[in-house]
């Protein structure tokens, strides 16, 4: 299957467009519905991170969805979410947070993606950030 590419403005609900698309693709390749829900949730988090944190002047993200394996034997899905922001320092972002309730309020997006997907890979520099997430069937 050809890759699906979405160029989406950073506006309310656009993360759902990306998420729904991932869901439809997951159903198409016969993924289990819990797996599909996990992908949908991870895509939402990756998009809102870009919307919230990228600091991008170019207010859009490019989401690409690829089916891994062949059309006859799909093995999973890879999704990348790219923004054109200022990037960030991964090590700082991953610093352990405090354990008080008030500390729980932010710093979740990346951990949710890690927890729900099989693999996450991030590239970030002054030209922007790309989060690549993979889930196998």
């Amino acid at each position: 299957m050809q890759p699906v590419t979405l160029t989406l403005p950073m506006i309310t609900d656009m993360e759902l467009t990306a998420s729904h698309t991932a869901g439809a693709l997951g159903r198409q390749i016969g993924m289990a519905s819990d797996q599909i829900d996990e992908i949908k949730q991870a895509v939402v988090e990756a998009c809102i991170n870009a919307f919230e944190h990228s600091g991008a002047i170019r207010r859009e993200v490019v989401v690409q969805l690829d089916v891994l394996g062949t059309d006859d034997a799909p093995e999973g899905m890879r999704i990348s979410v790219r923004d054109f922001g200022t990037g960030f320092n991964l090590d700082r972002a991953r610093n352990p947070r405090g354990e008080r309730l008030v500390d729980l309020k932010r710093g979740h997006g990346l951990r949710i993606i890690e927890g729900l997907m099989d693999e996450i890979h991030i590239e970030s520099d002054g030209g922007g950030t790309t989060v690549v997430m993979t889930k196998l069937r």
Binding site: T12, D13, E15, G115
Partner: protein, 116 residues
């Protein structure tokens, strides 16, 4: 889509109220739930149950706002519980550390039994 969140409130006896969510809990949805919770607290309720059966997706900003309700509840010696989460939302709550501060039940009966 926002295709906004719908909330239904069922105020019961003993200071207990159940809030049913239907739809996406994002920033705005979280704010709406918080506004409803604070209204219920002002009306004297000390036990709140959030039934998320009709919510299929959330985002971490929306859920962060729910954490503020938990804080408020701890302050006033009240209790906020959750029930009927999809497996993915349950996972997300655990990853976010919510499970330490709020009870999460599979069914509404179970949650009500634990609250009353």
């Amino acid at each position: 889509m926002t295709e906004s969140l719908k909330l239904t409130v069922d105020e019961r006896d003993d200071g207990l109220a159940v809030v049913y969510t239907d739809g996406y809990i994002n920033n705005q949805g979280g704010e709406e739930i918080a506004a409803t919770a604070y209204r219920l607290i002002d009306a004297g309720h000390r036990k709140l149950l959030l039934n998320l059966a009709e919510t299929k997706i959330v985002n971490s900003i929306g859920i962060s706002i729910l954490i503020e309700i938990i804080e408020k509840m701890l302050e006033i010696d009240g209790q906020l519980s959750f029930c009927c989460l999809t497996p993915t939302i349950a996972k997300t709550f655990h990853i976010m550390g919510l499970a330490q501060y709020a009870q999460i039940h599979e069914t509404e009966e179970e949650a009500l039994a634990a609250l009353t």
